[in-house]
């Protein structure tokens, strides 16, 4: 048992580092994109709405694996050769961002119309209503689905072995190729993913609690 861990844990931790890099980088990228595209889809201006719609539909509607393959193996033929890690972060971010945009949009849509009308009655500008009245109420509604997306993103990182990155799953495969100890190795890998998901979920729960505490009780 000790020998097994001594042999396999150091490379798996190195793989976990890549998985985390992708998760954190991808999540930051996704957050920015989700807010931009989510607001863009609700915009009255066509030049904002259309790009946001195209982005969301393209990245929700195509396979993440094919996107990765395309960004890594096809883009260099058009003169863009991004490093593997950056490719992984961007594609995972673009993907989760597309789903996240819908979370942002639907949460904003669910803030009662009366809130907008009240804002206007107080002579607030549209932007001010959005940022001071509507978004603070929409934020607590976004967090539970955002937590789901974060876990999804973390598990999707396993796809990047396709593009020469040795993240957790791929490292497990390499170790398995060396020793053929499939069952204990994959059990250990599952455990690592599970613990990682628990850490992420705990973080999200903390965030939810602090947001609702600041905003008072909401249904």
């Amino acid at each position: 048992m000790i020998e097994f861990l001594q042999m396999h844990l150091p490379p798996l931790v190195a793989g976990l580092r890549v998985t985390l890099q992708l998760t954190v980088g991808g999540a930051i990228c996704a957050l920015v994109l989700a807010v931009l595209a989510g607001l863009g889809r609700r915009s009255r201006r066509r030049w904002l709405r259309w790009p946001a719609n195209v982005y969301v539909e393209v990245f929700r509607g195509t396979s993440a694996m094919v996107q990765l393959f395309w960004f890594y193996f096809a883009l260099p033929f058009f003169g863009v050769s991004l490093p593997a890690l950056l490719t992984g972060v961007i594609v995972l971010g673009l993907n989760s961002g597309a789903y996240g945009a819908e979370v942002v949009r639907s949460a904003i849509d669910h803030v009662p119309r009366g809130q907008w009308e009240a804002g206007r009655a107080l002579n607030m500008s549209e932007a001010r209503i959005m940022f001071r009245v509507v978004l603070p109420q929409a934020l607590p509604m976004m967090l539970p689905p955002a937590g789901n997306l974060l876990i999804e993103l973390m598990k999707n990182t396993a796809l990047v072995s396709l593009i020469t990155l040795s993240e957790l799953t791929f490292t497990a495969q390499v170790q398995r190729a060396a020793t053929l100890e499939t069952v204990p190795l994959f059990a250990l890998t599952l455990l690592i993913y599970f613990l990682l998901a628990q850490v992420l979920l705990t973080g999200m729960r903390h965030l939810e609690r602090s947001v609702t505490r600041h905003r008072g009780q909401r249904a």
């Binding site: 580092r17 985390l20 890594y72 260099p76 050769s81 020469t164 791929f170 495969q173 053929l180």
Partner: protein
């Protein structure tokens, strides 16, 4: 009250500290964001001045794999590549690990400069990339469950045994062999890698795993599952020719100069005692030398 706020302060500080440590650990180290060489330009000149050549491999022992104890890229192809590139004035090789099926697209996209994975020369692959002259030739074998319950001794045997299925690794040549012999697709099981194929046969997902004799021997030496090499084994004959796989290094089509230089050093190396000493630890014996067969002749032949 005081203790409460002190506690909160401690927790917050610890949280920030943990976040900072995590960020430091995750921050990309120099080289991790390297874009790779990128196609185009004179590759030979570039790798000579850099002193390092990037080689793609798929972690398949004994052809090219990472020794998990030392972390060193080793195997028949990387060790031979080290020897040859040293003579070409490139002292170091750096491995880029990827799936077998991604090797050719990654080479073409300039993610590395050479495929050093013991890849077979086939006419289909020749359409995509150029090959060096072969460095070894090896026959086929099956891995089956202990006792060979279905009594399988060759591709034709398997085809004529009702209910028998053949396991192959995705991207590997054995899929073409199986189809050429006439095994229907619904009896071909494609596994993502050699370890999965081993587990697959052990778990009864396929009756036999078809690979080169070398791969099968190597895997059997490491697994503890009740598996064996099907003996005796009838050589696969297609179009009147005994099928052997000829492994070589892969290059981009545009890298003429590099390929030429590589081939000329390779020709002076293959079959020498030095070569034998390098590849012998991986189970490559003198009877597996490729002889007079060249990449050009293998590219022309119809699909095996």
């Amino acid at each position: 009250m005081l203790r409460d706020s002190a506690l909160r302060w401690t927790r917050r500080t610890l949280g920030v500290l943990a976040a900072v440590l995590l960020a430091v650990w995750l921050w990309p180290r120099p080289g991790e964001l390297g874009a790779g060489p990128g196609a185009g330009g004179d590759t030979l000149e570039r790798i000579r001045s850099a002193g390092v050549v990037r080689v793609g491999f798929a972690n398949e022992a004994p052809y090219a794999y990472v020794d998990t104890r030392t972390g060193r890229l080793t195997g028949e192809a990387p060790e031979l590549a080290r020897l040859i590139f040293r003579q070409l004035g490139v002292p170091e090789i750096e491995g880029v690990l990827t799936e077998f099926g991604s090797l050719i697209p990654a080479l073409k996209a300039g993610r590395f400069d050479v495929i050093a994975a013991g890849m077979y020369i086939t006419p289909q692959r020749c359409k995509e990339i150029r090959f060096s002259d072969p460095t070894y030739a090896v026959g086929e074998a099956f891995m089956v469950r202990a006792g060979n319950p279905l009594d399988l001794h060759g591709y034709e045997d398997l085809r004529d045994t009702s209910g028998a299925t053949i396991g192959v690794v995705s991207g590997a040549i054995q899929l073409q062999y199986a189809r050429a012999v006439g095994i229907p697709d619904e009896r071909i099981v494609i596994f993502p890698g050699a370890p999965s194929a081993v587990d697959g046969v052990a778990a009864g997902r396929a009756s036999a795993y078809a690979a080169t004799a070398l791969t099968i021997n190597d895997l059997l030496s490491r697994t503890s599952a009740p598996l064996e090499r099907a003996m005796p084994f009838e050589d696969l004959v297609l179009d009147g020719k005994v099928i052997k796989g000829y492994g070589a290094f892969g290059f981009r089509k545009s890298d003429e100069a590099l390929l030429e230089a590589f081939n000329s050093v390779l020709a002076g190396t293959i079959g020498t005692p030095m070569h034998a000493k390098i590849v012998e630890p991986f189970g490559f014996t003198p009877d597996m030398l490729p002889g007079e067969v060249t990449a050009a002749s293998l590219c022309e032949a119809p699909a095996g």
